[in-house]
């Protein structure tokens, strides 16, 4: 299954234009249907979603050679074992990469500023699993 991000964004009320990099403000109003007898006007029942502040992604690395990658579990059952397999994969296939495992505080959705600071200070990149 592959999800069309443009369709998905539209369903969220977000203009797909964000994928093209241009801030967008609203979508075109629905065009009126052809004139017919018995046509009625109704009010839009939607609430007001918050403004979305676009966050630029962090610059990528030229390569992973010799880098330290944090393997971060969000605490979902089995994520620790899965990340351990990734550590094993790097050891076998990219031995110059150092991996460090950490369990993120705050559960699936919470922030862990302490861990973020550690990764920024000591690491080069992060792999997180399994988010949902």
């Amino acid at each position: 299954m592959s999800i069309n991000r443009r369709k998905l964004l539209s369903m969220l009320g977000i203009s797909p234009a964000v994928l093209a990099g241009a801030p967008a403000f609203g979508r075109a109003a629905k065009k009126g249907a052809p004139e017919t007898a018995g046509r009625v006007e109704v009010l839009n029942p939607k609430g007001m979603p918050p403004e979305i502040h676009l966050i630029p992604m962090a610059p990528r690395l030229a390569s992973l050679d010799g880098k330290t990658i944090y393997l971060v579990s969000d605490g979902f059952e089995g994520a620790d074992r899965f990340l351990n397999q990734i550590a094993i994969w790097f050891k076998k296939n990219m031995p110059s990469v150092t991996t460090i495992y950490r369990l993120k505080a705050g559960g699936l959705a919470g922030d862990d500023p302490k861990l973020v600071a550690e990764i920024k200070a000591k690491g080069s990149a992060m792999i997180m699993a399994y988010g949902h």
Partner: protein, 447 residues
């Protein structure tokens, strides 16, 4: 965060991951997908996933991970600024049939026909409250607020949804009260949450709610439409209930159609028993709505034991596969029997249940490796518990008040067992479910 990141998500949550990234400001977030589920795989099977392909892109999985960290950013991935999401024009115009279809196709209904929210119907609904149509009522999130940004809404927008649900203007204060709590009726979780709304105080009779025969059934317009409005407004005022994106309940629940909206049978409470809202700090003359969250209900009638004993056994045994908080809905005849056995208040009955419910041995020893080791070394009380055998009821209650995940550290411990009285007295039935108390809020404030 400033660190190159590859997020790994199982394929079942593709829509959720992408939509969540977009609504939180990173629509192009680099996400790598694995098959689903992963939790039940062996280590060797997990390693095979790494050697396989990303089920979304069809590319080798680990290459996707490495690319996510090393392929230079596109211009779109570097964009800053703000986006004000649009939720469409202020009005729609078409034939009634087409509008019914349009509202359903855009997930703005519960997929049953709605009352079309015309200006005159919404104006009539707004007469049900003294509050300004433009007053902000509150904010509501589709799930965990840190994951699903909360939407805000005003009185007029709640009124539009109330019209759609078929509510009458006189019901509107209860709907505003529910909306003001910020609690969605369709909370995003894989576990298919249900909700319950219980009205107390004079407002129940003012709008002729049903708290007698069939109060939880389709026999009263106030019960039916207030509960229905909660689901419809959750979809439209919080963006909740988009399957795969803001709703993930694997089976879903029929309770979401009207959220078990009912009222307490206050006129048939046993002497000395205070109504639900009074036990939560309100006066008897206040009108309130109390919200519960949970999953399921059991309908019980059993004549072999007094009810207080029967319910204790139910908590020990039937409830052993459920969570550790319960809500009891007692028919007035059952409440009267409990009172007759010496329980002068719901709190006294709750304390008895908390103290006397036990834990089946099979459940007790799950994830208690340390206690099991101590038991085998003769350390009490574990040694005695172990001697009781695998079919015993261990005298440890699972209903001692405890903190729930996400509770503020200074918040008082919530009751693990709540109850209210409701029903027509046609037989001695009671309902028990794995629900827990969320909040009681004023309806009077919204009149």
């Amino acid at each position: 965060m400033g660190v190159p990141t590859a997020a790994i998500v199982t394929i079942a949550f593709e829509e959720l991951a992408k939509s969540n990234a977009a609504s939180r400001g990173m629509p192009g977030e680099r996400i790598c997908f694995t098959p689903h589920p992963m939790t039940n795989k062996t280590d060797a099977e997990m390693y095979q996933v790494l050697l396989g392909k990303d089920p979304v892109t069809g590319k080798p999985f680990m290459k996707e991970v490495i690319d996510a960290l090393t392929v230079p950013l596109t211009p779109a991935e570097k964009v800053t600024g703000s986006v004000r999401p649009s939720t469409g024009p202020a009005t729609y115009s078409d034939t009634p049939e087409n509008l019914q279809r349009f509202f359903a196709d855009n997930n703005m209904t519960d997929f049953q026909p709605i009352i079309l929210p015309t200006e005159d119907k919404v104006e009539a609904m707004l007469k049900g409250t003294s509050h300004s149509p433009e007053e902000i009522v509150g904010k509501m999130s589709a799930g965990i607020p840190s994951a699903f940004p909360a939407w805000s809404f005003n009185v007029r927008q709640v009124a539009i949804n109330a019209v759609m649900a078929g509510a009458r203007p006189e019901f509107f204060p209860a709907i505003l009260a529910i909306a003001s709590t910020g609690q969605t009726a369709i909370f995003s979780s894989t576990s298919s949450f249900a909700r319950m709304a219980v009205v107390n105080g004079p407002f129940r009779d003012k709008i002729r709610m049903n708290y007698g025969i069939g109060a939880l059934g389709p026999f009263n317009d106030a019960n039916a439409t207030i509960g229905r409005a909660w689901t419809i407004l959750s979809k439209n005022l919080a963006g909740a209930g988009l399957p795969g994106m803001t709703y993930l309940g694997t089976t879903g629940t029929n309770f979401n159609y009207n959220n078990m909206c009912c009222a307490e049978t206050e006129n048939a409470l046993p002497d000395g028993w205070e109504p639900l809202h009074v036990r939560h700090g309100f006066k008897p003359t206040d009108s309130t709505v109390t919200l519960f969250t949970g999953w399921s209900l059991t309908n019980v009638c059993y004549f072999g034991l007094p009810y207080h004993e029967m319910i204790t056994h139910w908590l020990t045994h039937y409830f052993s596969t459920s969570n550790f908080s319960a809500v009891l809905v007692l028919d007035p005849t059952v409440a009267a029997d409990i009172k007759r056995h010496g329980f002068d208040s719901p709190d006294a009955f709750r304390d008895y249940l908390v103290k006397n419910a036990k834990t089946p041995a099979w459940l007790y020893w799950q994830r208690r490796d340390k206690e099991m080791a101590q038991a085998k070394q003769g350390v009490e009380p574990f040694a005695s518990y172990l001697k009781m055998g695998p079919d015993a009821d261990i005298p440890v209650s699972r209903f001692e008040p405890r903190r729930f995940p996400g509770m503020p550290p200074n918040a008082p411990l919530p009751n693990t067992i709540e109850m209210f009285v409701m029903g027509g007295g046609t037989n001695t039935y009671w309902l028990g479910g794995d629900f827990r108390y969320v909040v009681t809020t004023s309806i009077d404030k919204w009149v």
